[in-house]
């Protein structure tokens, strides 16, 4: 057995022969060395996480209190002056104006809310639905598992944007909730699959066997033993998906099936600015920039969370 702490090309210290793990006590470690405790300790120190959190905080504040960032209310028809259409960046209009003479900066700021709400809501729904179903299917197995596997395969076979397009066409209206529903319906199989795989791995571990031998009920095993261990992978995927959902909403709104006027969406702004792109590129570029930054922030967050929770990198 390798007796190095940082082995040159070998597995890290899973104890064999009952010997305790060697000297991995840190100098200033948290007392309770659980996966979550360690992960948090680790996360706090990662610049990626800190940077992403900062960015996200700013965006969330922007979403909840847009008036902190701009005094202009883009929902008020009077704030747009047709005569001022397609002006460049200036003192009065930091990002310029769009086709209808509305202030782009104000619209961009207000657009944050819809994007974040859609992203968050969809993530929560897919995590809950996919997660719970995956937990049950993975744990129970049997008919439920087979049935769900077939069903999710069907969903996997349908490309998500096209599927969302179809579903949204059924709803006729495009608002935050229909978009969320469309995306959630098509994406829950992903969290389902991940949770299921993690549960199946956990199910076969010795500690579950031990719990069973001690007489723990199925529910207790599921929620107290398996779930905490399986949920790490779901959290990682969920965080990364958040960014994807925000981009997807923008894409759908761009195509015209997502959010519609008078709702403000960055995707919609991009679509509106499309025709006169060459004359007034900033009408497209600024919402595009904000969209990219938001997605970037969440993906950075997901990356950092995954690195912190990955037991192999400990």
């Amino acid at each position: 057995m390798s007796d190095t702490l940082v082995p040159a090309g070998g597995k890290t210290g899973r104890p064999k022969h009952g010997k305790p793990r060697r000297g991995t006590r840190r100098a200033k470690a948290p007392k309770d060395a659980s996966l979550w405790g360690d992960a948090w300790y680790d996360l706090r120190r990662r610049p990626l996480f800190v940077g992403a959190s900062f960015l996200i905080t700013v965006l969330v504040v922007m979403a909840v209190f847009p008036s902190l960032f701009t005094s202009v209310n883009p929902f008020d028809a009077r704030s747009c002056e047709l005569a001022d259409a397609r002006l460049g960046m200036s003192e009065a209009h930091w990002f310029g104006t769009d086709n209808l003479g509305c202030d782009i900066y104000a619209r961009t700021v207000h657009g944050a809310r819809n994007s974040i709400v859609v992203g968050l809501a969809t993530t929560v729904v897919t995590a809950l639905v996919g997660g719970l179903l995956g937990l049950f299917a993975g744990f129970r197995g049997g008919a439920l598992d087979t049935l769900l596997s077939r069903i999710t395969e069907i969903f996997f076979a349908i490309p998500s944007i096209l599927g969302a397009l179809l579903i949204l066409a059924v709803f006729r209206t495009g608002n935050v909730w229909t978009v969320m529903l469309a995306l959630a319906v098509l994406t829950w199989p992903m969290t389902y699959r991940i949770m299921r795989a993690a549960v199946i791995t956990a199910k076969n571990q010795d500690y579950v066997l031990a719990a069973r031998a001690l007489g723990a009920s199925a529910w207790r095993i599921m929620f107290r033993h398996i779930l905490p261990n399986a949920i790490a992978s779901v959290i990682v995927v969920a965080t990364i998906n958040l960014g994807y959902f925000i981009a997807a909403e923008a894409g759908l709104s761009f195509l015209g099936v997502g959010l519609r006027s008078p709702d403000i969406s960055w995707g919609l702004m991009i679509s509106d600015a499309r025709e006169r792109f060459l004359e007034a590129p900033w009408a497209l570029l600024f919402p595009a920039l904000f969209l990219s930054l938001t997605v970037l922030a969440f993906i950075m967050l997901g990356d950092a969370v995954r690195d912190a929770l990955d037991p192999k990198l400990r």
């Binding site: 057995m1 390798s2 007796d3 190095t4 702490l5 940082v6 040159a8 090309g9 597995k11 010997k19 305790p20 060697r22 000297g23 991995t24 006590r25 840190r26 100098a27």
Partner: protein, 345 residues
């Protein structure tokens, strides 16, 4: 301590009076987030052609790290060698440039590892992996290399070698896989073979077979063998001399029968006492009390003192050097005389 020559590839033949391999006051450290881990703290041993040296110790004792330092396969960062030399026929390997070291590796000094399943590439056939030694180092053609691979597989007693040369590692049993590793390692007739816990993952009967094979191979050539293990039982038949390691240091150095008959260090004594014996059925198994030292935070003085029944005040203060006990023995215990007598413990 002789000063070594300028870095060139080691000679092909023994310069006068030089042992085959000498590890001289080797220190290896790992720089980690939690601090500097001193894995090897001044280890010295030597090996002559045809000799078998067994390096004994628990996990964390530094035995594998020393071997990896000899091979030059430590990841450097985080590993570094602040002191010491490793002389192969007199040439300090640590001073050689990487290309020269690569030429030594596999050809002059070879190594086999504990878990043959993970140590063999799963996507290439065993014939390919053994033959690779010839294709890369000797420029052999694929066909010649395969022929040589079959010869080697025969030599390590793998039945139906000609048919099995195109099989994949997962298609062999544990013992067979270890033989394949051995075949790969002796392919180019190296002068030194380092076996890092070669039998730990195997059944007892297979263990015996593999040890027998190693003994045979060593007898056929003048190869020096360094056997790294934590299992005293395996060592007795094969080894000529034993070095016991603890906390990154050698604590006892002796010929095989001396160690078994009269150990000079409390740790060795404890190890011997922990071997379960068939004629002592029904009694509680003995285990050395306490835990191996934390390499980030070593005890003062002798690293073993927290667990030692011979401990006295000087043990806590001063780290014992390797006392010379006889012409072929050394022990790193202040009170080695008492340990030899067996008066306590």
């Amino acid at each position: 301590m002789k000063r070594t020559s300028a870095p060139t590839v080691p000679p092909e033949e023994a310069p006068d009076g030089e042992p085959l391999l000498v590890v001289d006051d080797l220190h290896v450290e790992f720089v980690t987030r939690q601090g500097v881990v001193k894995a090897v703290n001044g280890v010295s041993y030597s090996l002559n052609p045809g000799e078998t040296l067994a390096v004994l110790g628990e996990s964390g004792s530094g035995k594998s790290v020393t071997a990896q330092a000899i091979m030059g396969i430590l990841d450097s960062p985080p590993a570094r060698v602040p002191r010491g030399e490793i002389r192969f026929w007199g040439t300090n390997l640590l001073a050689l440039p990487e290309e020269a070291r690569t030429r030594v590796r596999g050809r002059r000094i070879a190594m086999i590892f504990q878990d043959a399943l993970s140590a063999l590439n799963p996507v290439f056939t065993v014939g390919d992996q053994i033959g690779e030694m010839f294709r890369v180092h000797r420029g052999a053609s694929r066909r010649d290399a395969t022929k040589k691979a079959i010869e080697l597989m025969d030599r390590v007693r793998i039945p139906a070698a000609r048919q099995r040369v195109h099989d994949y590692p997962h298609q062999f049993s544990g013992g067979m896989r270890q033989r394949i590793m051995i075949a790969m390692s002796i392919a180019l007739d190296p002068q030194v073979l380092i076996a890092d816990e070669p039998t730990t993952a195997l059944d007892v009967t297979v263990q015996a077979q593999i040890m027998e094979l190693l003994g045979e191979l060593r007898r056929e050539s003048e190869m020096g063998l360094i056997l790294i293990t934590h299992d005293l039982g395996v060592v007795a038949d094969v080894a000529d001399k034993i070095a016991v390691m603890y906390g990154g240091r050698i604590v006892e150095n002796a010929l095989v029968h001396d160690i078994y008959r009269r150990p000079a260090h409390p740790y060795t004594k404890g190890l011997l006492a922990s071997i379960p014996r068939v004629d002592q059925k029904g009694r509680e198994l003995y285990a050395i009390k306490g835990m191996p030292p934390n390499l980030l935070d070593m005890p003062t003085g002798c690293a073993f003192h927290p667990r030692c029944s011979y401990r006295q005040d000087d043990c806590v203060v001063e780290a014992p050097p390797l006392y010379e006990i006889g012409p072929t023995r050394a022990g790193a215990c202040h009170h080695w005389r008492e340990v030899l007598d067996g008066s306590r413990g």
